[in-house]
Amino acid sequence: MSEPSDALVAASDDAGAAARTREREIVRSAIFAVRAGRTETYARIVELYQIRLFNLVLMGLRDRAAAEDIVQEAFVRAYTHLNAYDAQRDFYPWLATIAVRLAQNWRRRIREHATEAPDEQEEIQLERDVLHDVIVDESSRRLWLAVAALPPTERMAMIMYYRQEMKIEEIARALGVTDGTIKTSLFRARAKLRSSMQNEFTPTSELPHEL
C-alpha cells in the first residue's frame, strides 16, 4: 500500500495517542479534586464526556429525551460510585458501562410495558429531521441512518469501536457479552453497512467481485 497513506495513518495515531494522554490527565486531576471534596470539579468530566456518552446512548435507544435522562443518571451514578472506580483503568469505558446498563434496563422496561412491538423505521424517522440540521453531508447522514438501523448490540459495538475507539474487551465488558460476540457483531455490521452503502463505496470499475 502507498507510503504517504501509511504516514498519514501514523500521524493520526500519534495525534490520537496525545489526545488520549491529555484526556487521562484531565480525568485524573478532576477525580483527585472530587475525592478531596471539591465536587464542582466533576463538571470537567461531564463536559469532557457528555457528547460522546450521549451519542452512544442515543444510538442504543434512538430516543433523544430518554438518552439525555440516562446520560444524566449515568454521570450521577458514576459520581456516587466514584470510590469503586479503578484509577489504573480508563474512565470512559467504566462510565460507558454504567450508561449501557441503564439503557438496557430502560429498553427492558419499555418492552415489558409495550402493548405492541415498536416500529423500528418510525423510530429512525424521528431522527431524520434532527440529522438534516446537524449532518450536512448526505453520505454521512446515510451512514448514520444505516448504523442506526442495525440491531442494538451491533450498532452499539460499531459506535464504541469506531467512534469512541474502545478496545474489543472493553466493549464486551460494557455490553455484558464475550469478545467473540463483539467480533462477530462487528463483522456482521460491516457486511450490512457495505451492502447498504454499496453505491457509496463500490464503484463497479473499482471492485470487480463482491466482498
Binding site: 461531564v46 457528555q50 450521577v76 446537524v134 467512534r163 463483522f187 457495505r194 471492485l207 466482498l211
Partner: protein, 160 residues
C-alpha cells in the same frame, strides 16, 4: 494465500485488528492482486467514514443538570444521616441485656421464696418449675450482655 482467503480477512475485521501473520500474508498477496487491493481500499474507506461518523449535540443544560442532581443526592444523603435514629452501641445493648437478665433472675428468686418452694440462695426441688426457666433465661441474658460489653473494648497488653 488465495483471493478468497484475503477477502475473508478484509471482510472479517478492520485492519488494525489483523494479526501480524494475517497482515504479512495479505500484504504479500495484494502486491500482486489489484482486485484485493481495491477491496481493501473500499473496506478502509468505510472504516474511515465510520471513525468520522458525526456526533449529535446534547442539550446545553446537561452539565448544570448533572451537578444539580448530584447536589440534590448529597443533600438527601445528609438529611438521611441527620434524621437517622442512632443505633445503640454494643456496649449499651450489653448493659441492657445484663439489667434485664438480673431482673429476670431476681424475679425467679423472689418468686421461689414467695411460693415457699425454695430456700434462700437455692432452688432446691424446683428442677422442673417454670421459675427455673425464667432464672435460666436471666443467666443467659447476663452472659450474652457481658460478652457484648467486653467485645469492643481494647485488650490490655499482656504484662511482662
Amino acid at each position: 494465500m488465495s483471493c478468497e482467503q484475503v477477502r475473508k480477512i478484509i471482510a472479517g475485521l478492520p485492519r488494525r485488528q489483523w494479526s501480524a501473520e494475517q497482515n504479512a500474508h495479505a500484504e504479500r498477496h495484494m502486491r500482486e492482486c489489484e482486485a484485493c487491493r481495491a477491496a481493501l481500499s473500499v473496506a478502509e474507506r468505510l472504516d474511515a467514514q465510520l471513525g468520522a461518523l458525526p456526533e449529535l449535540p446534547i442539550s446545553e443544560s446537561m452539565t448544570p443538570g448533572v451537578m444539580a442532581a448530584i447536589e440534590r443526592r448529597r443533600a438527601a444523603a445528609r438529611d438521611a444521616a441527620t434524621n437517622a435514629v442512632p443505633r445503640p452501641t454494643s456496649e449499651a445493648r450489653g448493659w441492657w441485656a445484663i439489667s434485664l437478665g438480673a431482673v429476670l433472675g431476681l424475679c425467679a428468686y423472689f418468686g421461689a421464696l414467695l411460693s415457699g418452694a425454695a430456700m434462700p440462695l437455692g432452688f432446691g426441688r424446683l428442677s422442673l418449675h417454670p421459675l427455673v426457666a425464667v432464672a435460666a433465661a436471666g443467666i443467659l441474658l447476663c452472659l450474652s450482655g457481658a460478652s457484648l460489653v467486653t467485645r469492643d473494648r481494647p485488650k490490655r497488653p499482656a504484662s511482662s
